[in-house]
Symmetry: C2
Subunit: 239 residues, 2 copies
């Protein structure tokens, strides 16, 4: 399949590399391809320049967000950070029409006044916006009424999403939510190709609220396990 990943950060790269490894034709979208390729320093998260990643993964095609979306034959993964996702996706709504968009972003508001913008044992935690009575997934769906939005991947580090067997031999649970059953089936098939054996359909896209709000619990569990800045664990629904 021709699958598009929007974004070039660490999470997006996990999907790009995995999808290429599975034999898909992978198209990657970025705001400004020339600027992305010109970067020679790691970003603020320590992620190496994208040019180095491309050199290690030949055959991957880098485009603008819109051209990348248009290149997909049905499936698009949103790896644009939660803060910028609605604006960036709204601008290419016509290129995403009719397609399935899997969104895994958490809408954290970064606070430049704190040293670490992530939850810490001493209590500095970022804020979610929206939260509780709305979700980023629902906002994206409202901005893209002709696109089938599925919320998934969000309860887990993307490195584990694409390699579930790295934790507990894969004996944990991934979730999908969305208002279109076919789109959720597509997302579930992709997850099974990634190695997931337990994919739970939570129901309509409103359940994206619970998935996004789980981010605080995910971070707390990571800290509880002594795994700061990138947990390496899974959540299994035992029934």
């Amino acid at each position: 399949m021709k699958i598009t990943v929007l974004g070039t950060g660490g999470g997006a790269r996990a999907h790009i590399a995995k999808l290429a490894g599975l034999g898909h034709e992978v198209h990657v979208g970025t705001r400004d391809p020339r600027a992305t390729l010109a970067r020679t320093e790691p970003d603020m998260m320590g992620t190496p320049p994208f040019k180095e990643f491309l050199a290690e993964h030949p055959g991957i095609q880098l485009h603008t967000f819109g051209d990348a979306a248009a290149a997909s034959d049905g499936l698009v993964i949103n790896g644009i950070d939660g803060h910028n996702a609605v604006a960036a996706l709204s601008a290419i709504a016509d290129r995403l029409a009719g397609k399935t968009l899997i969104d895994y972003a958490v809408p954290f508001i970064y606070n430049p006044d704190v040293e670490h913008p992530w939850p810490t044992p001493w209590g500095i935690m970022p804020k979610l916006e929206p939260v509780d009575t709305d979700s980023l997934g629902e906002r994206i769906q409202r901005a893209l009424p002709d696109t089938k939005v599925v919320k998934s991947f969000v309860t887990q580090e993307q490195t584990t999403v694409v390699d579930p067997k790295a934790v507990g031999d894969g004996d944990h649970t991934m979730f999908v939510a969305g208002d279109d059953a076919d789109a959720k089936r597509q997302a579930t098939e992709l997850l099974k190709a990634y190695g997931w054996t337990d994919v739970l359909d939570l129901g309509p896209l409103v359940c994206a609220r619970g998935m996004e709000m789980y981010a605080h619990m995910h971070s707390a569990i990571a800290f509880g396990l002594g795994q700061q800045f990138g947990g390496h664990f899974g959540i299994k629904v035992v029934r």
Copy 2:
């Protein structure tokens, strides 16, 4: 031990019955004991009158909130609903001083305009207040500076909290958070007496935010499993 449970609802009764079964002297607090004993009809949740419960569990002592708190020799479980907890507990702050208070409430705001005040597959979900940048657990701790507040039990139905082996033979995870290590040890010992084998300390009480916000995910999972109004599943941290 002399252990106090504040509240007479379904969740509180699960703890009362279990603690009595474990041989503890259980003291129960209610706003107005005479009114509680006068009730002859099930409440809005379908819970039978407390008088019937007392008849089935002889030896349990019913008091006002304050007298029940004073009767405990160290451990108090808060089963007052999230909406009323801060006011009710603040009024008896002196009786709770020096004690460990385990709080499992979720601060849902009920919306009288919707038929079912719980999340549903069609999108009616209650609102949390506080949420994200504060939690009920932290509010209770601020209202009771001389009490050691532990947030726990909150990620699970109380019937499963007191009987973890009823789900997956007990192979799932319970969480504690709080600012006092001794109080968390007390809560963990109680959980082990209940049958829990995996109790994860998430860290300081700020982690109550994640636990309370997990309520949306818990409800979504319950609906995803087809278990409406009282899930029967566990969450295991796989690592």
